[in-house]
Symmetry: C2
Subunit: 246 residues, 2 copies
């Protein structure tokens, strides 16, 4: 398991021992599994090791709003210790595996390693950035560019998580998922996807979409790749991280 976490690049080798100390177990679940119900309690924080999932919230009408997609390296329930109940559910899109940690232990780990605390903060900050992006898409873009923006962000996050570039072009999501995430009807998503396909920017396969021209997609939706001096690094010790507390 260590290999996985370090490969994802979130933790330094020194902190792994601490994390290992509070690590409870690794779990695997099949596609479609409801990992967490809406309005449930959170006992464990999880880091996704592999697979795809969605965080969502249901409406009285029976529709649901996908808050965001969960990819390898992402956290679920990081703040579990702070609230009695969640206001969202988590459902797996593909088979997926997770490292599980008791919430309370995770929070107290802050005090054992400044470096680890910074890493956890960094992950929380990433989470917040993701949501900001989602707000931006929903508020400021039209259907086609919204889809393009989402696809580009997913690819970007996959790359950041250490997924191989070729695989990071492949999105195992249905057009219905896209609609639920972007507030569009699946019919309209379909029309926009066909348009993108006609432009040669994406490919529509049996098991999801594939990005063909990420560069053109970025251009289309005016996606900002966050070019810092040494961007695209997931490790908080380098690149994005401005202050090292070690």
């Amino acid at each position: 398991m260590q290999e996985r976490l370090t490969k994802i690049g979130i933790f330094g080798p020194g902190d792994l021992a601490i994390l290992e100390g509070i690590h409870r177990r690794t779990s695997t679940h099949p596609a479609g599994h409801l990992l967490q119900p809406e309005n449930g309690a959170i006992e464990n924080a999880r880091i996704m090791l592999s697979g795809w999932a969605v965080r969502f919230r249901s409406l009285a009408s029976g529709d649901r709003q996908i808050i965001n997609f969960v990819l390898p390296g992402d956290c679920i329930g990081l703040y579990g210790a702070l609230f009695e109940r969640t206001d969202f559910g988590v459902e797996l899109i593909t088979d997926a595996s997770f490292a599980e940690f008791p919430c309370a232990a995770l929070m107290s780990a802050f005090h054992q390693s400044a470096r680890l605390g910074a890493a956890l903060c960094w992950m929380a900050a990433q989470d917040e950035r993701m949501l900001e992006q989602q707000v931006f898409r929903l508020g400021a873009l039209n259907a086609t560019t919204r889809i393009a923006h989402l696809l580009v962000e997913l690819q970007h996050r996959l790359l950041t998580a250490g997924i191989k570039p070729v695989e990071a072009m492949s999105m195992p999501i249905t057009q219905k998922h896209i609609g639920e995430a972007l507030g569009l009807s699946h019919v309209h998503v379909n029309r926009c996807c066909r348009k993108l396909k006609k432009l040669g920017l994406i490919e529509i396969g049996a098991h999801g979409l594939t990005l063909l021209e990420p560069g053109e997609l970025r251009q289309l939706c005016d996606f900002e790749p966050k070019k810092g001096p040494s961007a695209d690094r997931a490790d908080p010790a380098h690149g994005d991280l401005a202050v090292n507390l070690g």
Copy 2:
């Protein structure tokens, strides 16, 4: 200043000393002031003591998307130490005052008090919940209910921050702000507001909107008030906080 922070209810008395130790200064700025440019660096984290502001992101077209509203008790730049540059700007809607802290010192404060660390985490978690709400609005609601939902959330947050109930009904924002936040044209916002006014749910004054029937507004947009055993408490020592690390 202590009175303000404790009144807002985020910190316990024990932690105030630590926070006071790293507190740099209190600043005040006039309405319209650009507190933080897009793409700038963050040197200070700020806690808003009074006033209203927006966090926004600009588009090439000249429009801007308001990510969220900043109210008393909210943090800005909590993660400042973790990134070299922000991807959003902050502009004041009204005159406002802030407590300022060097980012790095704030992060290291985690290690001086578990209670304080939990409080900061709690604030970050609140931030994330806010964004989730915003995503929900933008993705799942139509124009009128979107506006109602926003107004109800703002009122709820004002109450949580310790603002007096009467004052928490009053929103010093323009219809343009609402449009920029909710991805609607100001013309359409106006039509929806008039509809809400005609229903007797809000009042449209010279300096913003006033909620007349929060209950009916909640019902209209199916707003969940997060009723836990002892909800509506801002202090992480009680209510929402499930685990106390002290």
